[in-house]
Symmetry: C2
Subunit: 571 residues, 2 copies
């Protein structure tokens, strides 16, 4: 028969290392079978319950510290509970091997001690983390924000401030980074080299850097962005800054971009920025269907290990785009084949945004009126909607020809994409009907009144057919080419071409991060987990650890009061 005793301590702040050590200390006491030392959040209470350590009668607030001991009898349990303060004192005495060093108690004091510090590492509990980060930005420092449980609003505000000032906020919930050869947070020791990384994720970045190292190559810089950076609300602020930085860094020859799937609008902008770096960029948006193996200088991996392998062994023949890229105008895809339309949309959504379709991949791409395109549009004209009492567009070209004229009359359209599917059952001479109309449209639009604000109107066709097909493949292709259509034989090739024509663009509205600062020896101020400070020192970086305590000792009302009394900052 075991006995459970507990104690609730309210209002006091303990860091999580102390809590872990207290729990271990309790487990080492005589007669103690199990112990739990946790902040009394609902999740932690559930965890205690799952371990049969939560008596029904405990009442505690999420901010309270809950100490529970299960022992073989009541005496041992009581002894353990009364031993808590002794364990805490013992911890204090042994925790600071360098306790003779002077340790600052605030960020500003730490900066005075190590003025060359260019980074602040923050791993205090989430509810305090944004405040510390704000202070760090005000002091002109880059922020590595390990803490989680930081609000989205705080993240956005911090990143916008940082972007204005040419500073980076990695995180919140940024587990890892490697800056100038020094690992921040969790980071593996890897060779230096020519591969730069931008990663929203922590262990994703670790897995890729480790694999790159094991393949014999190395890392220039690895920049973390935090798990939410690529969500629409945040807009990948840090990832954009990081891409821009690595683009300008002459030592970075290849860039790897890792994240969980970003929202479609963010993905398109970020990939466009990646394109504009001009360097080979290996992309692994884990769970985002790759638009292709390769789109210009972008190379898509389907796993972390493949991302590393591509970065190390990639074959980087960069395509030089001879034509001027098209900007500020739209693609309209008019398909007879549903799957061809779908594959085109899937690939194009990586670089065309916004894009709509009557056969959308995500709900946000739904074209509300299939009869009228908007922005970039890919239409499946063989969709059931169009098919009642009507022959399939692979047999009857009437619907498509009407739509061709309609799209061509839209001055915002610069490219019309068609598929032409040959074979048994299809129209006997589709090019014979389509090509004359295209020719007529082209002549009208080039020679006629200035209908368009874009130069001319480009036609691209994907011709699906074999040399044995009844339509005569070569004649079909020639008829299209003769009327000025650029012809491809697969969706893949057509999409690669389109991606080059619709140019890359970089988010330009931010103060660039000073590359020189990134390349200075790393010096950092650590606020939070002491092990991160130890790690910095063991890697030869200069560092100062702040003996941080929450404002007003964790008393939130008092802290709010203090915050109002600005200027009177304690040291």
């Amino acid at each position: 028969m075991t006995v459970i005793k507990w104690e609730v301590r309210s209002g006091a702040y303990y860091d999580s290392v102390v809590l872990m050590q207290l729990q271990r200390g309790l487990l080492g006491l005589p007669g103690v079978v199990d112990a739990g030392v946790v902040m009394a959040t609902p999740a932690n209470r559930e965890l205690l319950a799952a371990n049969n350590l939560l008596p029904d009668s405990i009442s505690a607030n999420p901010d309270d510290l809950l100490i529970v001991v299960k022992a073989t009898d009541g005496t041992f349990a009581d002894a353990a509970i009364t031993g808590v303060d002794e364990l805490l004192t013992r911890r204090k005495a042994t925790s600071s091997p360098n306790s003779l060093d002077f340790r600052p108690h605030s960020l500003s004091a730490a900066v005075k001690q190590l003025p060359e510090a260019n980074w602040v590492l923050i791993s205090v509990p989430g509810r305090y983390a944004a405040g510390v980060a704000r202070e760090a930005l005000e002091l002109g420092k880059h922020v590595f924000l390990y803490s989680d449980n930081v609000s989205l609003e705080d993240e956005i505000a911090l990143k916008k401030t940082a972007r204005e000032r040419g500073l980076l906020v990695m995180g919140p919930d940024c587990g890892t980074a490697i800056v100038n050869g020094v690992g921040l947070g969790f980071a593996n020791r890897v060779r230096r080299g020519e591969i730069g990384l931008v990663a929203a994720s922590g262990t994703g970045l670790q897995a890729v850097t480790v694999h790159i190292h094991s393949l014999g190559a190395g890392i220039s810089h690895a920049i973390g962005a935090g798990g939410r950076d690529l969500k629409s609300d945040v807009g990948a602020i840090t990832a954009h800054q990081a891409l821009d930085l690595l683009a300008r860094d002459p030592e970075t020859k290849v860039i790897v971009l890792i994240s969980k799937p970003p929202s479609p609008d963010v993905a398109a902008k970020l990939l466009s920025a990646a394109k504009s770096t001009g360097k080979p960029v290996v992309v692994d948006f884990i769970g985002y269907p790759p638009p292709a193996r390769k789109l210009g200088n972008l190379h898509f991996a389907t796993s972390l290990s493949e991302a590393a392998e591509l970065a190390v062994n990639g074959n980087w023949e960069l395509v030089i785009d001879e034509k001027l890229p098209i900007t500020n105008s739209y693609l309209r895809g008019l398909f007879s084949g549903g799957t061809l339309a779908y594959e085109t949309l899937l690939s194009s959504q990586a670089f065309l945004s916004p894009i709509y379709s009557n056969s959308p991949i995500t709900n946000s791409q739904t074209l509300s009126d299939p009869l009228h395109s908007k922005c970039h549009t890919v239409i499946d004209l063989g969709d059931e909607f169009f098919m009642v009492g009507r022959l399939h567009p692979m047999i009857d070209n009437d619907l498509r020809i009407r739509r061709l004229r309609q799209e061509a009359a839209d001055p915002e359209v610069s490219m019309i994409l068609l598929d032409v599917v040959l074979g048994e059952g299809s129209h006997t001479n589709p090019a014979g009907e389509l090509a004359p109309v295209i020719k007529e449209i082209r002549e009208k639009r080039i020679g006629g009144p200035a209908l368009s604000r874009v130069e001319g109107l480009e036609f691209v066709a994907i011709v699906i057919g074999t040399d044995d097909d009844p339509q005569n493949l070569q004649s079909q292709i020639s008829q299209l080419q003769d009327s000025g259509v650029t012809v491809f034989r697969t969706v893949t090739e057509a999409v690669e071409y389109i991606s080059l024509r619709f140019g890359a663009s970089r988010e330009s509205e931010f103060t660039p991060v000073d590359l020189g600062q990134l390349k200075r020896p790393l010096a950092a101020i650590n606020v939070g987990l002491e092990s991160f400070y130890d790690s910095l020192l063991s890697q030869g970086a200069q560092a100062v650890h702040v003996e941080w305590k929450p404002p007003a000792g964790g008393d939130e009302r008092l802290a709010a009061l203090l915050a109002k009394m600005k200027g009177k900052k304690e040291n």
Copy 2:
């Protein structure tokens, strides 16, 4: 100034070829500027409106035929409208070059004329198509159902009936197939060869067969399933039958499986069936993030063209699984790294179903209580939920060790997967804490009471670290291996291993389709588009075309009455 005139004809049935020809005929008349001949569905009315061919005052039902003419003046317009009947008569007179041939007016009559027919091609309007398909199945024929606008209920009923009888229903909305060298519907003329295809999609199948042909290889059979076959409601009935058929066909050496993304449960079952074929299977679920490049005999392509290239040039060293596969038990992944968990889930969902997580990819995978796993589960123990006032599981192993014991006590668990992430900032000896617990669990479960209905309990670990990391990579790996853990260095390798251990299974509850019948010279009955009949003949297949008219001439009330008077079938 142009004039628009129109006519509404109700109750009559015209096939869509007649409508197209009528429209073209009207356009050829003097003074006619534009014309529309359509069934008056909302979509078609919108289309007329978009072409300025829909006067406000027209009232017509969706089943009515709407004939609209725009002419340079009223006389021409009137003349065109009154010319409609003449055009229709002329069409009738010229439409049947073989009009002296006897043409059956019903499916049963056609079967008498061509008893060896093993296929029925159906391309009548959607609302009549299910009825014709039902009749074909009753006559013991495979069905190629080109028609769209067939209800989901009808599709499910037809496919269930077919499955019971060992028959295939390709479609509805099945654009293409190649059976025994003969293209059905839309199909390109391609070389015969060793590559068999199963495709939910039409032009997807065409694009892949064309590309295979252009690469010099050929097709054994290409089986269409229809765009909805891989939805949960239908459960990929046809795709399962087709995979089974191609698995048994000795001439098919490689299988290609194409579809838009299936629902997760359907995907896992279908991929499991694909695995069980034992043949190399190239999978392109367009838009479904590939779980890996390769999982056993499954090879994942990211585009139609790559699917063809893999099928032709793939390197098929099949992995032989020496251990017996695990069945009817579960995997539990307990991760410290969020991205490692996510990548594992992403890959595993392709072959483990149902699978749950506190960091799910689809909503249906959400683990309602993160503290208790169910079925296959992948847990990110570094998720914010667990992290308030607690150190990260990469530093503190307590949470994971507790969870390890919890999972091991579940008799349905046969494999526990861990990540062990080394490097700066992480625990100095994670294996030193994990390995002894694993050893203890293994000994208890092997030597102890028959807790489990599976043989033993397998542990697999992904160790992320470099030879320079402070923990000593080799010692970490050895400690784990010494306690019986199978160790991998990347998620990719671990997932490949797990996919081999959790065996393949084929849907077994159906009557297999007779392979012999598939290999007999194709003979078919065509109901609907005459061009499909012409195509069959031109490919040297035996065929009969049914002079189909809708029941009761398209009068639905009368048709319903007739349907009730079963047995009195007209000939």
